[in-house]
Symmetry: C3
Subunit: 153 residues, 3 copies
Amino acid sequence: MSKAEDKIKELGLVLPAAPEPMGAYVPFAKSGKIVFVSGQLPRQDGKIICTGKVGSGVSIEKAQEAAKLCGLNALSVLKAASGDLDHIKQILRLTCWVASDASFFDQPKVANGASDLMLAVLGDAGKHSRMTTGVNVLPGDATVGVDLIAELK
Amino acid sequence: MSKAEDKIKELGLVLPAAPEPMGAYVPFAKSGKIVFVSGQLPRQDGKIICTGKVGSGVSIEKAQEAAKLCGLNALSVLKAASGDLDHIKQILRLTCWVASDASFFDQPKVANGASDLMLAVLGDAGKHSRMTTGVNVLPGDATVGVDLIAELK
Amino acid sequence: MSKAEDKIKELGLVLPAAPEPMGAYVPFAKSGKIVFVSGQLPRQDGKIICTGKVGSGVSIEKAQEAAKLCGLNALSVLKAASGDLDHIKQILRLTCWVASDASFFDQPKVANGASDLMLAVLGDAGKHSRMTTGVNVLPGDATVGVDLIAELK
């Protein structure tokens, strides 16, 4: 059992199977040690479980949980790409997309749901640069999306 | 004639000249074998030919065609960057931006217009990771934008 | 004194200290010579100084200044990452996010505020590929955001 997967268990989480793509793309692409992980939505068993916009119907807390689930799905793709999450050298870039009412400004707090998970599971390897934005709508009316770029050992 | 360009002809398409940038940037930047292609809009002969938002005025079908044209423009930039589309090893990341009414949720179907083109033209080399988002507006009121990162052989 | 910092002085600008992250992430991540710079907002002394949306309250000129400040903050992070801005080989990708009213279409003009700064400060090394988008809202109600990927010498 990998250290990272032990951490996931300690957090009371279960690493899912890597989600199926929602279109004509693949879950990840690799160039040498660099892995590009496709955008992840808050999907569980294939179903988006958090829809709607933060600031009009969805609370920050719920959106943070959704971001965490996006992050967990991204980790499942990284496991498929690396064979073992302990082989991740660094999360280089995490981009967090928050479906937002135009009057909601706390997207970074939402994104922390995904960022905190990376740090908790991967330790130093989980420290990442980040871009966070609001958008008016995401695929499937999802509340949050996360994509990332990582380097393998 | 390259295999990829043969495919483009078979699809009844014409690879345009790489579009001029719309600001103080360059069509692509390279780091070793990695090419970063600037955002492409559905421009033909310099003019954006699909404007407006999906879900309020623009149909999915029209937006898919716009995404395909964005993809074709991205291929023209990749040709300029590589000399020959057959030199593309892999499309690593495609990001698709869909100008959307906040009640439209089928962005991935729109993005498939670009993704399917990559697969049809480049085969296995066209398999890519992807992020798709809705946005409230794109430059020039374009309906779709596509940017990408690719690796050359 | 580096040539790039001389240029910054000539432009009447002051390179600030790299801004503190606004969440659970780091200002930059590196993979070999490639630096991923986290999203920068128009912050001065820690405070966002340009808020609101272009097309409803914020002028293009003001937004361009905001984009320039984002770019300056990105340069400060690049200095922290490289030790010396003259060690930058190339800005590979600049992404500019413009908080926009849905009827505003001139995002590229806004983005030029950041792009022109890169060219003025870094010369050929500042030539970059770019993606520019409108979004309905950015963290902290900022008018503009800029993130980038660069290669060091």
